[in-house]
């Protein structure tokens, strides 16, 4: 244990003296997290909650008008205004406002629309029960819709079908009510309210995506853990450089002649670099917790997932250390290792959904992203931050990261023996 203490002391000092390396490991990912959160904030908002501005002039103020107003508001697709600049608007003003692009859509529900429908229905039902033939078309209601030409077709049809659905629903409500009333007049037993029979066909929506990809974080919830993972894996550059320098300056050879087995030598590095990884994560997460809200970005919320975060952080740190070790073993020069490590981490980050989140990737890439060790950690963090998963949910990711570390460690030991002792 005394030996391990000295090795940790040595690796700690080496790390502290490498100011440029420290900058790369701490400042760069923090800056990236900040910049990317800023850049992506509006994009994430668009995915989440960009609503289509819609101006509604509801002159009806009765069942139909109210139902349409309520339903359009509740759909979550539109942000509904009932006037311009707080003033109730006229038809002409509405057309102008939509034309200017202030609103993407304008809807006018005419006065007495509900009454018209009600009257029609009454007439129809009464006629039907008395055996007369009455055309329904006698007095139709016209709801006007004005659409900014740039509006996407999909939104347009969403709106039209929403309107149509509520017109039909209102109409059939009256119809049922009238029929019930008529039936009750003629029958000794009260007829049940037929309206209850509605909504028997349920449409169930599902995403055709790998299971996990469908939870959508906000910009902070994505970028904080994402760049945290990037920082963690970026230690591969420092670690591989450290290993190669140590071999190059001969100190590794000297250590070999001392009572310092390879596992002890590596343990010190695992301890020091795990510590670095946890500090990196702490710095980035604290930035998300306290700095982001000051800058007008969504604040990170962790709840009581601290311990799980630590677990995922440690497992990811191990994976990163394994990766750095294997590069440090195989690369023959410091430069080679630095270039390979940084480029490969950037590529794994891209695949793993660090730059662009997995849920916006095309489907084949979503499957591929599950191969990136950075993705395992990121998914682990997602589990905690947005899916509210408990430790069980983290198990697959943590197991994958730890297995990756063990594989790398075995490969490093075998490579070292084969290439440096048995040569």
């Amino acid at each position: 244990m005394n030996g391990l203490r000295w090795l940790i002391y040595k690796d700690g000092l080496l790390l502290l003296r490498d100011k440029a390396g420290l900058c790369m490991m701490f400042l760069m990912p923090m800056l990236l997290a900040l910049i990317m959160t800023y850049l992506q904030d509006s994009t994430f908002n668009a995915i989440h909650e960009t609503r289509i501005p819609l101006l509604l002039l509801n002159a009806d103020k009765d069942s139909l008008g109210m139902a349409i107003e309520r339903q359009i508001g509740a759909s979550g697709i539109f942000s509904v205004a009932t006037g311009i600049d707080g003033q109730p608007a006229e038809r002409d003003a509405l057309i102008k406002a939509v034309g200017r692009g202030d609103f993407m859509m304008g809807i006018i529900i005419p006065e007495n629309a509900t009454n018209h429908i009600r009257k029609n229905v009454k007439r129809y039902v009464a006629g039907a029960f008395s055996g007369k033939n009455i055309s329904l078309k006698s007095d139709s209601v016209q709801v006007e819709i004005f659409i900014d030409p740039v509006t996407k077709n999909s939104f347009r049809s969403t709106l039209i079908s929403t309107l149509r659905e509520y017109a039909v629903r209102t109409e059939s409500d009256f119809l049922f009510r009238e029929i019930t009333a008529e039936v009750n007049k003629h029958s000794p037993l009260p007829a049940p309210d037929i309206r209850l029979a509605r909504n028997k066909v349920i449409l169930k929506e599902q995403y055709a995506m790998p299971d996990k990809a469908k939870t959508i974080p906000n910009s902070t919830q994505h970028n904080i853990p994402a760049w945290g993972m990037f920082a963690v894996f970026f230690i591969a550059v420092s670690l591989s450089g450290n290993l190669i320098r140590e071999r190059g300056d001969g100190s590794f050879t000297r250590l070999r002649t001392m009572p310092c087995p390879y596992y002890l030598y590596m343990s010190a590095k695992v301890i020091i670099y795990s510590l670095v990884c946890l500090l990196q994560l702490a710095a980035i997460f604290l930035m998300g917790l306290f700095l982001f809200p000051l800058l007008g970005l969504p604040a990170l919320t962790i709840g009581n997932g601290w311990l799980s975060l630590l677990g995922v952080g440690l497992c990811s740190a191990l994976a990163a250390i394994g990766y750095g070790t294997i590069i440090g073993q195989i690369a023959s020069s410091h430069q080679q290792a630095a270039v390979f490590a940084s480029v490969s981490v950037v590529i794994m980050a891209a695949i793993g959904g660090i730059w662009i989140p997995v849920f916006v990737m095309p489907l084949p890439m979503q499957w591929l992203s599950a191969c990136s060790p950075l993705n395992w950690g990121l998914e682990g963090f997602y589990d905690i931050l947005i899916r509210g998963g408990n430790w069980r949910a983290l198990l697959p990711e943590c197991a994958a990261s730890s297995a990756f570390f063990i594989l790398c460690a075995i490969a490093a030991v075998v490579y070292d023996k084969k290439k440096r002792i048995d040569i």
Binding site: W6, K10, S251, T253, R254, T257, M258, P259, I421
Partner: protein, 249 residues
């Protein structure tokens, strides 16, 4: 007299190389000796030392170090040996003192003992000033001395020195050789490689001349000079036995 090191028909061919680096080498190093392993570049000196320190595997033959056969006893051997590599093996971004702390600490020295030992050796080699400077700011000769001290801290039974004086000035060299003699008198066995014959002549109690991985002759310096006709310096013996051809290694 007990033997510090026994090498019996040791063979080592590097992978991918046709000629063996060490070829049926047989040597005995008595305890308390300053044993010079001398030979031209590429003779196999470093390879031999590396095998004896457990840094390389070997193909065949037997070795025994401090009475241990290294089959499963490297742990015991490592505590008893000190190794001073041919190339400087120190952390450039650590100070001299920190380097020595780490290496001494790993050899099992602790606390006051470690501190005193480091300061004693720094004093002996004239480096007590500037011990808190980074190694990368040291001159070549100073690095050589720290490199040597790092192998001495734990008072090893057997000290392996691979060309410890390569590239240092005469003053530093004399200081290092004087100190090595003192250390030897304190009971440490020293195995020393060099191709500086003058140096070997003054320092070594026994020498083995090797070339092409084979032993050419062994004996005391004065014995070898007397044996070889027309020679009054070790260098003459060396040139007569290894030839004047240039070595590329």
């Amino acid at each position: 007299m007990r033997t510090a090191i026994e090498i019996n028909r040791l063979c080592k061919t590097y992978r991918g190389s046709k000629t063996p680096a060490v070829d049926q080498l047989t040597l005995t190093v008595p305890e308390g000796a300053v044993f010079g392993l001398l030979g031209p570049n590429g003779a196999g000196k470093t390879t031999t030392i590396h095998i004896l320190c457990g840094l390389r595997s070997f193909d065949s033959g037997e070795i025994s170090i401090a009475g241990y056969s290294p089959k499963r006893r490297w742990k015991d051997i490592r505590r008893r040996i000190g190794f001073v590599p041919q190339d400087i093996a120190l952390y450039p971004s650590l100070t001299a003192y920190e380097n020595l702390q780490v290496f001494g600490g790993l050899m099992g020295l602790r606390g006051k003992l470690l501190k005193n030992r480091i300061n004693e050796l720094l004093h002996l080699f004239g480096l007590e000033h500037g011990k808190h400077r980074l190694i990368e700011h040291y001159s070549g000769g100073m690095k050589r001395r720290i490199n040597l001290i790092a192998g001495l801290l734990h008072r090893p039974e057997i000290l392996f020195l691979d060309e410890p004086t390569a590239g240092v000035d005469v003053q530093t060299k004399n200081l290092m050789l004087d100190n090595l003699k003192t250390i030897n008198r304190e009971g440490h066995t020293i195995i020393y490689t060099s191709h500086y014959m003058e140096e070997a002549e003054t320092l070594c109690t026994q020498i083995a001349l090797i070339d092409g991985g084979k032993t050419i002759c062994t004996g005391t310096p004065s014995g070898l000079i007397a044996q070889t006709k027309g020679c009054d310096k070790l260098e003459d013996v060396y040139l007569q036995l290894t030839g004047k051809k240039l070595r590329d290694e």
